[in-house]
Symmetry: C2
Amino acid sequence: MADRTTGGPSLPGATVFIGTKPVMTYVFQVVAQLNSGAGPVVVKARGNAIGKAVDVAEVVRHRFLEGQVDVGPVTINTERLVNRDGREANVSSISISLTRTTPVPPRTESTPAPPAPPARPS
Amino acid sequence: MADRTTGGPSLPGATVFIGTKPVMTYVFQVVAQLNSGAGPVVVKARGNAIGKAVDVAEVVRHRFLEGQVDVGPVTINTERLVNRDGREANVSSISISLTRTTPVPPRTESTPAPPAPPARPS
């Protein structure tokens, strides 16, 4: 399954799909989206990645943006997929919505300004 | 981690903790609780079992009690546990509430009546 991030800073919201990369990869994607002022970010996962989606939301909430995000609503569902053999299979999915409750910080560390030109001896 | 089922038919609600047993084991526990009229059943899991908790709720909703249960609210959290080495670790958790929307069926297959006494030739 490919990891996809749809929506950018100019859209009203963004979705981060959880795949096989490490938790922190997705944590940084979510934090970047929330800091871009894009609106609510929805973390989505299917099957084995569901636990990781919960980890991502919890790490964002408790470690990176403590007291600055609301988590929820959380919804669960079943998706019907066709696997490689052409057979249909039911797979559980989860959607976790994260919304910033504080203003977006001014651009500092997350989007550094271009480096200053090197100082030249006059 | 032990699998526990707290609360019985006489309590206002019940909690089913998801552990290492097969999904269907927990599905039957949840269905039995919902059919006992015990009120909302909360499915809880931590860490690796989170995906299984979602599977349990979805199987109950779509296969066993289709159109008869409301799923939600779903809440996620972080629990601080002490592992075997005495170190603290953060573990994600999930709670999924399931509520029956239709009346509890009369007792039939799930709680069979005691067998009739053997017929005696008179």
